[in-house]
């Protein structure tokens, strides 16, 4: 393991703003169509503050699409998603959803960190610049403060020495750790992870999961799409199984290990465990 003891990750960003309400995510009856393909069929989910939810399911089950709806990277055709009490991506006009103005959507996204399967680091910027770009540009954080925070974050994910290195000179695991630091630099109240380890070589999965576990221990509210059941067992408060655009089973990690009820869940788990 190349990772040093991460220490206090959220300390590096001065702690995250505690949302005033107990519920961070409230999704109700979310409907999503890709053309004629019905990918989300009335999905509902509630995530409380400091809760860690792991979403599992076969590819094509809609799990990635679902979390992408939560920061409006995907439009929805029905239902409502609230994060921190804000209706995400839409305004309600006479009971109908009308897409919100771009500026408002961008503002809502500031509170929602996202980590992608393929990292999506900015290749023309160094590791540190990747982290400081959004605080400088979006939050108008003073340069010195942003750099200090960026360095602290890099230190906590064990990459202090990579400050001036471009992403293509980093391993996959290192890139993903920078990507997590980049998302944290916006001080989000919620972190979304879209299969954060599935593009990684096996020996790099551990170092990334270690950072995510540390975040969980420190009380970050998170939704993680992942097939890493060992990880789910360790950190998840709740596991959600999706199939064909619906949530078919939900429970503690123990429940999924010992007594899954749904046939689809059983066959899915038998394949990945």
């Amino acid at each position: 393991m190349t990772l040093q003891k991460p220490g206090d990750l959220l300390g590096a960003i001065g702690g995250v703003p505690m949302p005033p309400n107990e519920v961070v995510v409230e999704a109700a009856g979310v409907e999503k169509w890709f053309g004629r393909l019905h990918v989300l069929k009335g999905v509902s989910m509630t995530v409380k503050r400091q809760e860690v939810v792991v979403v599992i399911g076969a590819s094509g089950s809609g799990k990635t699409t679902f979390i992408r709806c939560m920061n409006h990277l995907e439009k929805i055709q029905g239902g409502r998603i609230f994060v921190n009490g804000h209706l995400i991506g839409y305004r309600e006009v006479g009971g109908k959803l009308v897409e919100d103005r771009e500026k408002n959507i961008a503002k809502q996204r500031q509170e929602i960190g996202m980590v992608f399967q393929r990292f999506n680091l900015f290749p023309h910027m160094t590791a540190l610049q990747n982290i400081t770009e959004a605080p400088l540009l979006v939050r108008k954080t003073p340069q010195a403060e942003a750099v200090e925070m960026g360095r602290a974050l890099l230190a906590r994910v064990g990459l202090s020495s990579k400050e001036n290195v471009y992403p293509n000179q980093l391993s996959g695991g290192q890139q993903q750790r920078v990507a997590i630091a980049r998302a944290l630099a916006m001080k989000p109240a919620l972190m979304l992870f879209d299969e954060p380890t599935s593009a990684l070589d096996p020996e790099m999965i551990g170092e990334v999961l270690e950072v995510i576990k540390e975040l969980a221990r420190e009380g970050m509210t998170m939704i993680v799409v992942s097939h890493e059941m060992g990880f789910a067992r360790e950190v998840a408060d709740r596991v959600v199984m999706m199939d064909d655009g619906q949530i078919i089973e939900e429970g503690t990690p123990e429940h999924f290990f010992t007594s899954p009820t749904h046939e689809r869940t059983k066959s899915f788990l038998s394949k990945i465990l």
Partner: protein, 288 residues
């Protein structure tokens, strides 16, 4: 290049074998034009370079806006961009040049008066020429910019948006800087073309390099010597540009997986070694 040398060799050999005939080449015209250019040639050179740079800048600016407009959500922007590109790629540049200069002034739409730009008087024909070249270039460049933007992994814009950036911020800070790397090699080709295309302004008597030599060959009735000298000067300009282009591409390559291979070197560029398939392709995607 070797073909060019062969052609010249044949021509030179041809005229020496014709020594008994009345053909007589005055090589002093050629050597004087190349090694002791008079003020007309010097001014022509300066004018060619400044017209090419100004027109290219206009083209890049218009092309970038046209590309963004073509990809805009707002339909009227897309229509305007498409009509612009359609008109200027669909008609000959020669027609555009004479239409803008003679057409507009004779029709009393715009007379192209001389303007005074920081103490430099710029003739109407030069303005019309720069305008035509720039607007025409913009229509072509729009497609290059669009291709450059489309070559960038959509995940880059998604990452920018997920961090709270607007589309405009993500475009300006994240996508366009990466697209620039993809755009620079074709931009180099476009400017190489632009340096030579300025010669079309002979049609509206702009005294650029070609116009100067065209007059000289007529005055002295020595087309071979003067046109050859014109070719040498244009070749010098495009060669200098090749060197600058290679330097820019190396500068821009930092942070890409292809850093060590930032396009063909100068010798390859000048003497046309064709890069192997898969070589010198800029790497633009974010993750691996």
């Amino acid at each position: 290049m070797p073909v060019g040398i062969a052609v010249i060799a044949v021509l030179v050999a041809g005229c020496s074998s014709n020594a008994s005939s009345t053909v007589h080449l005055n090589w002093n015209y050629f050597f004087d034009s190349v090694f002791h250019p008079d003020s007309q040639i010097q001014n022509g050179l300066w004018l060619t370079v400044s017209i090419a740079i100004t027109s290219q800048l206009i083209g890049v600016t218009l092309g970038t806006f046209a590309a963004l407009a073509k990809m805009a959500k707002f339909r009227p922007f897309r229509i305007i961009a498409n009509v612009y590109i359609w008109l200027f790629r669909g008609t000959p540049l020669v027609v555009q040049i004479v239409l803008f200069y003679f057409g507009l002034s004779v029709a009393h739409i715009y007379g192209w008066p001389t303007i005074n730009f920081f103490g430099i008087h710029i003739d109407g024909a030069i303005q019309a020429g720069v305008f035509a070249l720039g607007v025409n270039e913009g229509a072509y460049f729009a497609e290059i910019v669009r291709a450059g933007i489309l070559a960038i992994d959509p995940g880059q814009m998604e990452a920018a948006k997920s961090l709270g950036m607007t589309y405009g911020q993500g475009m300006r800070r994240i996508v366009l800087p990466q697209a620039a790397r993809v755009i620079v090699p074709p931009l180099g080709n476009e400017f190489n073309n632009m340096l030579k295309t300025t010669s079309l302004l002979v049609l509206i008597s702009v005294p650029e390099l070609y116009t100067v030599f065209n007059r000289k060959q007529g005055n002295y009735f020595a087309p071979f010597e003067f046109y050859l000298a014109a070719a040498v000067w244009f070749l010098l300009l495009t060669t200098i540009w090749s060197v600058i282009q290679a330097w820019i591409e190396r500068k821009l390559a930092k942070g890409t997986a292809g850093s060590a291979n930032a396009g063909p070197g100068l010798m390859d560029r000048l003497f046309g070694r064709t890069p192997a398939v898969g070589e010198d392709v800029p790497v633009i995607s974010g993750g691996r």
